[in-house]
Structures are given as structure tokens and as C-alpha cells.
Symmetry: C2
């Protein structure tokens, strides 16, 4: 079966909503944060460690798996779940974002047919079309596939964005036409930058194509302001059906997750928790801390006293600081576990706040603590 | 309490022996392979993953921990077990081997008092003495401390080796004198290169000092031949008491573990399983294989069908090959788990062979399979 979203409750004072997603690999509550396993592995963690963070769906990248090891290899292995030993649901992106952000020298040629660009690995010439993206995702056998879209740069003007979103709509229709995996949902993506008319147009036309869920794209580009991100959500949400899941792509800063949930978003993904972990940073309820810092050398307390993650239950800041100082892999893994759990725990708290109709109070409480260090 | 070794059985046709070591962290069977956690972490693995390989004692390095984070930091954390979250026994080496192999530019000045050398990290001047080595190990609070010894190069001649081992004996006596941790055993180290008279002299005089266990050192140097290693064991073993544990330092090739056990060795350590893992190599009963090799891209079988490790139960060669090709940390961790389990499983098989008095048959069976690829 395909995934099924059920709206369970709307919060009294905001657009925040509680829901659940039924999948072939269990049922999960929303709002939800999805850890990212770009190349069929959440960097540095075993699937058991990811599960132990109470993760539901994870995300994997079509572009990266297309290049290495190739979708046919994954397919011959029995699909992505079996290949990577993950018995939970998986969402694959379309490759669009990577084509526009990673492609070698940023040189790409966008045609109606698809995008010509160069591999970020070896510079070889590649051509990705909406049909190809869906075909790859069909073969990967993820639970949720994304439509192939253009991710315009933050600097794009109204005219560019209008042409782009119209092409993205035509691409979405082409992708839907060839989508054939009966166990895989297909999501449409709303584009249109920070413009109300464009987001409205994109949302209405995308919904007309009737997808299994809807994503708000083009909000995690370099140079995109937070204000524009919130506008993009506000301008898109009113035109999305209530009975379908809503996914804000590439967003993982705590404040943005809260702002997204407040506006009616159900799922989020981001490489942030694992990426900052590899650089020694940990989320805490009092803001980020950098475990490379020598001040932690004799700090034998956990990253967070109140955190229930494997790392906080078993290791100290001083030990993690030692692992980072000596470039030991375990340090990156322990911080990744904590940071993923931190964001998942945040979504658990947000769900509780929605249940209790005190979302805004929780938001105020969380952000005051989280941002207190910035004010000093 | 200090560790206690009990000899349980000697094999009928060889000097191989079965025993057990009681520690403050449980009782473990010998012969045993000890995984190495150089800097208070077995590279890339959580303690649970190490335990899951059925590991008993692990080894950690005095030299590395002295430099980073410093023995006082570890001591203030509550000792090495607590610092690294390892609730099993730990053996610390003396730092001697690292001083002689790692010290910057190999420049060192050996005096009767100790060794002047430069840090391999920043070239700063350091001075390590027998007393200092024991003091550091006391503070680390490992279960087994090693005496500070000189590890002469494989090229050293008889005269050099004689002077060196006599100084090592004086160092051993000095170290024993200052050793004061009531929960920590202290081992002596037999030196003497490949010479029968020197090994005999070193063994007899070291045993006179009455240590809790004995190690055979100077066998894992660059340029040391396997023949010289086996000689060193053969010439030392007859002079070591049967009721004390015997440790062959830095040895982890399967063939060498087998040859060592046959000659009466009880415990081994080596970085080999984790080091070759990080380069994509896996031990198998049919010899080593290199998972970087493209021929494994669509090989969806485990590293070894017959292996009971976490990696072999859950992952394929093709997936691990993908992780290595994309430089994903998980690949190194999965291979490390397999390789550590491989050596531990070998010692389990050797123990079974000793029980059954068929050590030589097992040796023949194992080595014929293990070395078959070399013959092709």
C-alpha cells in the first residue's frame, strides 16, 4: 500500500496540526523530523542507532544513489530498505535540489525536456528528466517519491520564478504519468519563491495534479532569508488540502521547525544535525555548544542533563571533546545521535503542545531558552 | 582486587593452554584477543558494539592518553572505564612501544633515568621514565598496567639487546617499586630479540621481580621476521611460571595468533583488525578480501556466510563496498566489527580445539583454508 495521512487534531491558536502517517513499515506521528541518509546511510550511525533516536521516516538522495552505486544495483539488492538494512519508511528526494546545488561548477542547462549538468564526482555529463527521476525512485523502491522540480536560486526574480514554476508543473505532470510503483507515494512540490501570487498559482495547480502529499520547496537555498521562508509557507498552505501531508524540504533549525509547525507543516528533513555534529557542535535547549572548545575538557556532565539520548545517558562533554580533539569517529557518531534525537524530541514536544492547545506558550518557552545565549 | 589467572587445561600435543582471568569486570576465557582502543575508544565502535563481538579485555595506550587528554583528566573523570563508558577490563601498555615507534623523527635519547623524545603531535619535548609510566597508568586506573620497557629495533645486535634488556630489568624494578594501585595488576615484559640466551636471561630475571603476569615484547617491530617472533616466544615461555598469564604484545595476524597459542600464549592485542577495516579489508576464513574492489558491487552476500557478527547478519558485501566507495564512516565501523569478531571467534575455536586436544588438526584445517588464496 501507499502511505496514508490522517489529520488528527488542529491546534486552537495556530495552524499547527497533529497527524499520523501509516506506511508499510509502521505508523508514525506528525509533526516529524526525518534524519537524512544521503547515500543510503545516516552518516556514522547504524540503523539501530537511528531507530533508537525514535526516528520514523528517513530521507535518502536520488541524485547520490543514481551516481553511486546506481539505482540498478540498489534494485538488484532488493530495494533501498534491504540494501541499507533499514526496516522503516524512506522518502527519496527527486534529485532536483542536488542538480541545482551540487552540479560541477554550477553549470547546468535547463531545457523543457530536463537538465543537462556535470557530475560533482567526476565532471561527467549527465541528463536528468522528470521521467528519469521517477524511474530511479521507482527502482530504489522508497515509500515516498518526490516530483522532479527546479530549485531556483534565492536571487531569482518574479519572471524567472513564474516560468520556472510553470515548467516544474509540467515536469510534475510528466513524472506522475510514468510513476508506476504501487507501494510508493508520489508528492508534488510547490515553488514560487517569496511571492504570494506565485505560491498560490503553484499550490493550486500542483494540487490539481492530485498527489499523495505536498512539499514546499525552494526554501532552503543559500541566501534565502528566514522571512522569505515563512512567507513561502504562509502563501502556500491555504491552498493545500487538509487531508494530505505537508513537507517542508531541507529545514532543520529548531526555530524553523517551530515556525513551520505553527504554520501547518507536518514533516521536515535536514542534514544539519549530522553535519554540525561532524564539526563538533551539539544542539542544547540553551543553544548550540561547540565540543571542540577546550573549556569542556574537564566537563564530566552530559551534553544535556535532561536529554534521554544514548549519548547523554552514557558519555560526558569531556569525553566527546577528547574524541573530537583526537579526530576519533565515535565523537561524530555520538554527537549525531544527540543532535538527531534533539530535533525529534523537539517534534515530540511540539506534538504534546498541539494536543494541549498551548503551542504558542511552548514556542515562547523554548525559544527564550534556546536563544538566550545569542543575547549575551 | 587484582586480576587472577587460573590455568585450566594444557593441550595434549602442544603447549597451548586453556585458562581464565578473573577481573573486577567479569571473568574471561583465554586464549583471548584484546581489541585496541588507543585513545580510549576502539576506533569507530561503541562499547556495546565491542562487547557484542564477545570481547573481554580491551587495550588502551598510555602514551596517547598521557598526551591527550592527559592522565589527570581521565582520573578526574573517574578513571578510564568511566571516561570511555567501558564496563569491562582494560589493559594499558606502558607507552614504551609508542615512544620508540612514534616519537617525532625517531629522535630519542635513552638514558638510565628514562627516555627523552619529542611528541608525535607537536614536536614538544617529553621525558618518560618507568616511574612516570606507572604513575600515569595508576591514574588511568586500568585493570592491568605494563612495565616500562625499551623496544629495540629489529636491527639491534646481541650486545645492544643485552644492554637494553638489562636496563629494562632495572626499569621494571623501579616501576614495580612505585606501583601503588591496589586494583591494578602489573605485568613484566620479557625482551631479548631472537636470541635464546637473552630471552632466557630476561625471562628468569623478570620473573624474579614477581609480576602478576608476563608479556613477551619486541616481537611486533617493523622488520621483525615471523621466524624471529616464534623464536622469541619459544625461548621465553619455558622460564615463565605456569600460573601466570602470558601476553604476546601487538600480534594479531590469524597465523601468528595460532602459532602463539600453540607455544603457550594466553592473550594478544593488535590494531590490525580495525586498521585494515578502515582501508576496506575484511578477514575471511578463506583469506583477506578487499571490499574496495568493484567486483563486489553486486555481491549481496555477507562478508562470510558462517560469521555470526552484527555486520554479517545484517549487511552485504555490495553495501559495504558502496560505503567504502563513498567514504561513509559506517563502512569502516561495519568492517571493524567483523574483523574484531573474526579474531575473537578464532580464539574461541582455538579454545575448543584445546579442550578437544585437537589443536594441530584445527590449525591445519584453518590455515589450509586461510592461505589457499595465496597459493593461487
Amino acid at each position: 500500500m501507499k502511505i496514508k495521512y490522517t489529520l488528527e487534531k488542529e491546534e486552537k491558536n495556530t495552524k499547527a496540526r497533529l497527524g499520523k502517517i501509516e506506511t508499510n513499515y509502521g505508523t508514525y506521528d506528525t509533526p516529524m523530523f526525518m534524519p537524512v541518509g544521503t547515500r543510503a546511510t545516516v552518516k556514522g550511525l547504524t540503523p539501530e542507532q537511528v531507530k533508537d533516536c525514535n526516528a520514523g521516516i528517513i530521507l535518502s538522495n536520488t541524485y547520490h544513489l543514481w551516481l553511486r552505486p546506481g539505482e540498478d544495483v540498489v534494485n538488484h539488492a532488493g530495494g533501498l530498505h534491504k540494501f541499507m538494512n533499514w526496516n522503516g519508511p524512506i522518502l527519496t528526494d527527486s534529485g532536483g535540489f542536488q542538480v541545482f546545488s551540487l552540479a560541477k561548477n554550477k553549470k547546468k542547462d535547463i531545457t523543457e525536456e530536463g537538465v543537462h549538468f556535470k557530475s560533482h564526482i567526476d565532471g561527467s555529463k549527465l541528463f536528468l528528466t522528470p521521467e528519469k527521476s521517477i524511474e530511479i525512485q521507482n527502482k530504489l523502491d522508497s515509500d515516498i517519491a518526490m516530483s522532479f522540480d527546479e530549485c531556483p536560486p534565492a536571487s531569482a526574480d518574479h519572471e524567472y520564478l513564474k516560468n520556472s514554476l510553470e515548467r516544474t508543473l509540467r515536469w510534475a505532470a510528466r513524472g506522475k504519468k510514468v510513476h508506476s510503483n504501487p507501494n510508493q507515494a508520489l508528492f508534488g512540490i510547490v515553488q514560487g519563491g517569496p511571492y504570494e501570487d506565485l505560491r498560490k498559482l503553484s499550490a493550486i495547480e500542483t494540487v490539481k495534479l492530485d498527489f499523495d502529499g505536498y512539499s514546499i520547496g525552494g526554501v532552503a537555498n543559500d541566501g534565502e532569508s528566514k522571512e522569505d521562508m515563512y512567507k513561502a509557507i504562509d502563501y502556500s498552505i491555504p491552498y493545500l488540502p487538509k487531508d494530505k501531508v505537508r513537507y517542508l524540504m531541507g529545514v532543520g533549525e529548531p526555530v524553523d521547525i517551530i515556525e513551520g509547525v505553527e504554520r501547518g507543516i507536518d514533516i521536515f528533513d535536514c542534514v544539519l544535525p549530522t553535519r554540525i555534529a561532524r564539526h563538533g557542535q551539539a544542539f542544547t535547549r540553551n543553544g548550540k555548544i561547540n565540543l571542540n572548545n577546550a573549556k569542556f575538557i574537564e566537563d564530566f556532565t552530559p551534553i544535556e542533563d535532561t536529554c534521554d539520548c544514548y549519548t547523554c545517558k552514557n558519555y560526558t562533554r569531556g569525553y566527546i571533546r577528547h574524541l573530537m580533539a583526537t579526530d576519533e569517529m565515535l565523537g561524530k557518531s555520538l554527537l549525531s545521535i544527540h543532535n538527531i534525537r534533539f530535533l525529534i524530541r523537539l517534534t515530540e514536544d511540539l506534538r504534546e503542545a498541539i494536543k494541549n492547545d498551548n503551542f504558542l506558550e511552548y514556542k515562547k518557552y523554548f525559544l527564550e531558552k534556546y536563544e538566550q545565549n545569542k543575547k549575551h
